[in-house]
């Protein structure tokens, strides 16, 4: 997206830092539980609360998750990485430092292809991924004069995934987040739930005149918690910067917050003291050294990721790139689709049903596909009835509605309601004859060349058979009898 300003056309430059909570039973350096939504301070070990003499011990599984994520992003895995302390004082940071990785992260450079609305895709550079601890939560709204602290999140493992400043529009930023989220969810390394805070995004935004090689001064918009808000925040911030510069001002490098109610970004109250994090290697932890064989084993065991799945869907099921893209966006919908499409003569039929009928129902009921009222097996059963001409596509829609409401399977509904398609030629001929006899005027017109009336005739016959006649046969018999 380009911005037309008073002085020329501007380009937006965006880099994203995503904090993704590692899916793991236990925290990064302690055995405490990580489940979301527990009572405050019930999932806190003495390590997480930084009691005297407590020491961190790395959680092997969290390292595995970070490495698998790195592999999923096609990134370089650093066989030796180092944990550093990032020192600052805050009430919800019990040790007075966060254990993070500064100069030697566990994952280095990689790339991720983002899928754009116009069907094209673009490679975005990943700068690095490192492991770090989350802080606790300060609650300022529990008491008129005091702040409460909940340490349940303290010490939970996060992956900070940093992109290169390769993104050029809010749409691209949105596509980046959606793709990253999909990959994390395919890998099972982060649940990607932005509302619960298990995925949070900081956006670095700057603007420059089109053609300029220099970057403008950037602002960092912190902790935005939905894809839509990230896109809105970037759009607002970019226009703000263009307006500011065009009116003779200068962009100040600063941290800003997005006010989702007003749709604006605001400078964070500037701190009297700038942070100097005094990073240094954590002497309580040895460098993290990985064996290449172990990494190779993880790589070999990676699941099929969205890009590969999309290519396979296009090749195997003959889907359009657009349909394949929609279906693989969520691991669960891809799995659902594949369960319906497998061994089907017309997999495209499965794609159409999942993307139109099923998605419409899920949308209406605001549930995700794992809670679908119609299982993949049940939908496959319905599609089988269409494919073997037991029912027409139109009847199938009614049956589907009934399946959604009652949870019963298609065959039972068709049996009970007598919806079986009429494929008996004699019966259809009878119905066609009746329609022709009752509409002599229309017969004249169609024979006289008003070919488009054929649809009307088909509709009348269908009506006469309660929708159960096979529409293909009706069409054929009509044409024969009308001599067209």
């Amino acid at each position: 997206m380009l911005i037309d300003g008073k002085t020329g056309t501007w380009e937006i430059v965006i880099g994203l830092e995503v904090h993704a909570q590692v899916t793991s039973q236990a925290k990064l350096f302690s055995g405490a539980d990580t489940a979301f939504g527990a009572e405050p301070n019930t999932q806190v070990s003495f390590v997480d609360a930084a009691f005297p003499g407590m020491l961190p011990v790395i959680n092997r599984f969290c390292v595995e998750q970070a490495v698998r994520t790195g592999l999923g992003l096609g990134a370089q895995i650093n066989l030796r990485s180092v944990f550093d302390r990032k020192n600052y004082f805050y009430a919800d940071l019990p040790a007075g430092y966060q254990i993070s990785q500064y100069t030697q992260p566990v994952v280095g450079k990689g790339t991720m292809a983002i899928d754009l609305p116009d069907g094209t895709s673009r490679d975005i550079g990943i700068t690095r991924l490192h492991l770090e601890q989350d802080a606790g939560k300060s609650m300022h709204d529990q008491h008129p004069t005091r702040t409460y602290v909940d340490l349940n999140r303290s010490g939970v493992a996060l992956m900070e995934i940093v992109s290169e400043p390769d993104l050029r529009s809010p749409d691209e930023a949105g596509a980046y987040l959606r793709k990253l989220r999909a990959i994390l969810r395919y890998l099972g390394t982060c649940d990607g739930n932005m509302e619960e805070g298990s995925m949070r995004c900081d956006a670095n935004v700057s603007v420059r005149k089109v053609g300029s090689k220099e970057f403008g001064t950037r602002c960092e918009i912190k902790n935005v918690n939905s894809v839509r808000f990230v896109m809105q925040a970037i759009e607002y911030e970019a226009r703000r910067q263009v307006d500011l510069v065009e009116e003779g001002g200068t962009v100040v490098q600063e941290t800003r917050l997005f006010d989702s109610g007003k749709g604006v970004t605001r400078s964070m109250r500037s701190k009297e003291h700038a942070h100097d994090y005094r990073y240094f290697p954590d002497p309580d932890l040895l460098p993290l050294v990985l064996e290449k064989l172990w990494v190779d084993g993880l790589k070999a065991a990676l699941p099929e990721l969205p890009d590969a799945k999309k290519d396979r869907f296009i090749a195997k099921y003959k889907l359009t790139p657009y349909d394949a893209g929609v279906l693989v966006a969520e691991k669960e919908s891809a799995e659902y689709f594949e369960a319906v499409a497998r061994d089907r003569k017309d997999p495209k039929l499965a794609a159409n049903w999942v993307m139109s009928e099923l998605f419409a129902v899920l949308n209406r009921k605001s549930v995700d596909i794992t809670q679908s009222p119609v299982t993949a097996a049940a939908l496959a059963g319905l599609l089988n009835l269409i494919e073997n001409n037991t029912i027409s596509g139109r009847i199938a829609k009614d049956v589907f509605a009934e399946m959604v409401d009652s949870g019963r399977d298609a065959t039972a509904i068709v049996e009970e309601k007598g919806l079986k398609q009429v494929t008996d030629t004699g019966a259809i001929e009878k119905a066609v004859d009746a329609v022709i006899a009752a509409n002599a005027d229309k017969v004249e017109q169609i024979k006289g060349g008003k070919q488009q009336l054929i649809g009307w005739f088909v509709g009348q016959v269908m009506k006469g058979t309660g929708g159960k006649a096979n529409p293909g046969m009706v069409n054929e018999i009509l044409k024969k009898k009308l001599g067209i």
């Binding site: 930084a50 003499g53 407590m54 004082f89 019990p94 007075g96 602290v149 990073y279 002497p283």
Partner: protein, 490 residues
């Protein structure tokens, strides 16, 4: 029951096992001594009731023939080790009222071996000091006095309370921690054996951290054998400390009494300081003579980066400390001094809670880690540290163990070096290199100064070769035949 408090751990162990004495008697004698010696200020917290009930439990175990290696032996614990339910202060105001809900691995290991806890000993605040004068709970007095001079002397530090408890016959042994000499220097000042094990030999879990890459727990005892017995119980791999090393613990006592014929001991020329007290030089020569007499061979070695050790140490240790001590913020435990904002509370709490020496080191540490200074100070100090470690690696191509004095002087008067932190830091000149290189070092009492104060010799070993240290220390101990006792004791 004065005789009981003079026993070594080894002797008491034999008598306990032979049922000649009970742990109850032995412990009661030490509890009484603890009460008689309060003027020394060796303890911050006395736990006599716990001691007696642990003694009873030990007696029961001994009766059943299943007492551990330290069954029934009353020990003192430096108040830097967290002890479950017992006030743990690090000698700092900031840990007011802190009763840990957990037990440090090292003390837990001792209790598992059947030892009895007498109480928690005084120390320099957060183990920062070489004279035990920075404690919030007041200075510890050395039970030794100069001949003809009754002014109180420092016991050394930071493990001063532990040293005094053992020297004054209040405890049979004590735990210490050593970051730059905090076990070995007070051992030398009080006429004791003090061992700093190889980094990673003892777990640091549950010990209030000063400088994580240097801190190591170790025993302080009256004999080399007692130190071997205690270390055997304290040491071992602990999965809760990532820097603890998964190696089996050898039978250290078995190393005692072995011949040192043909063993090569290094004499580092850089440890011969300008203006070093002649009696320290003399003591060193004496040590060389003893080891030669036992059949060992002296070798001249060079540890060329020694002169940079103290400056490097006083960058690395405060840097780590500044970060380790950030958790004392008044939020979750210990002292809280309210303020009109969060920062105000931090400032008030830490200003009130930390003493001058701790504040000095936190400031130094914060400074050397700051943007723009990190490379010039911290990074450079780490490079020096690597060079010092390499010096030792080179030296151990030529020798098996290194012999040096433990400290550049005998104990000094309380207040004598109080105005000059640099003079105070110089106490650690022979000991810090060992921490920087992560090696084991032991101080053995080797003689008396002209004033009648104890002096120690230090032996430095290869990593995880505590056995050679015990073996050679045993030879020095026998040759020195150090039988003098402090003028004040329980």
């Amino acid at each position: 029951m004065r005789g009981l408090t003079d026993l070594t751990i080894a002797d008491a162990r034999a008598q306990l096992r032979a049922k000649k004495i009970s742990s109850r008697e032995l412990t009661q004698a030490h509890v009484d001594a603890m009460a008689r010696c309060r003027e020394l200020n060796a303890f911050i917290t006395e736990t006599p009731d716990r001691a007696l009930s642990m003694a009873d439990a030990a007696d029961k175990a001994l009766k059943g023939g299943d007492g551990g290696t330290l069954a029934g032996i009353p020990l003192a614990i430096k108040d830097l080790f967290c002890t479950e339910g017992v006030l743990t202060t690090a000698a700092s105001h900031i840990l007011d009222g802190f009763r840990p809900p957990y037990e440090s691995t090292v003390s837990a290991n001792l209790w598992k071996a059947g030892a009895v806890m007498l109480g928690k000993t005084n120390l320099d605040e957060f183990a920062m000091g070489s004279s035990n004068t920075t404690s919030y709970y007041g200075p510890v007095h050395n039970p030794w006095r100069k001949r003809g001079d009754n002014r109180p002397l420092v016991p050394g530090g930071s493990s001063g309370g532990s040293a005094v408890a053992v020297a004054a016959r209040i405890a049979m042994g004590a735990t210490g921690t050593d970051t730059g000499g905090s076990i070995r220097q007070p051992a030398a000042f009080c006429g004791l054996v003090g061992l700093k094990p190889t980094y990673g030999r003892c777990s640091r879990w549950g010990i209030v951290a000063f400088a994580s890459s240097l801190d190591q727990a170790g025993p302080m005892t009256r004999t080399v054998r007692d130190a071997a017995i205690m270390l055997g119980a304290m040491a071992g791999h602990d999965p809760k400390d990532s820097t603890s090393v998964p190696r089996p613990v050898p039978d250290y006592e078995a190393a005692l009494g072995q011949s040192i014929k043909g063993l090569r001991f290094g004499i580092p020329k850089e440890y011969r300081l300008d203006g070093m007290a002649p009696e320290i030089e003399k003591l060193w020569q004496q040590g060389i003579t003893w080891l030669k007499a036992a059949g060992a061979e002296p070798v001249d070695i060079s540890l060329p980066h020694t002169k940079h050790a103290l400056p490097a140490y006083y960058i690395i240790a405060p840097a780590e400390a500044s970060s380790n001590l950030a958790r004392y913020d008044g939020v979750r435990f210990g002292l809280r001094v309210p303020g009109d904002s969060l920062d105000g509370m931090y400032e008030n709490t830490r200003a009130k809670g930390f003493g001058a020496e701790v504040r000095r080191r936190v400031l130094i540490g914060t400074y050397v880690l700051s943007a723009g200074y990190y490379d010039a100070y911290y990074l450079k100090a780490q490079r020096v540290r690597s060079l010092i470690a390499r010096d030792f690696t080179e030296a151990y191509r030529k020798c098996d163990v290194i012999l040096t004095p433990t400290a550049p002087s005998a104990a000094f008067a309380i207040g004598e070096k109080a105005d000059d932190p640099i003079a105070m830091y110089l106490n650690d000149v022979f000991t810090v290199t060992v921490n920087l290189a992560g090696l084991p070092g032991i101080s053995v009492p080797a003689g008396l100064s002209a004033d009648g104060l104890p002096l120690g010799l230090q032996l430095i070993g290869r990593a995880f070769d505590e056995e050679t240290l015990f073996c050679v220390a045993d030879v020095v101990e026998k040759a020195a035949n150090f039988t003098a006792k402090p003028s004040l004791n329980g």
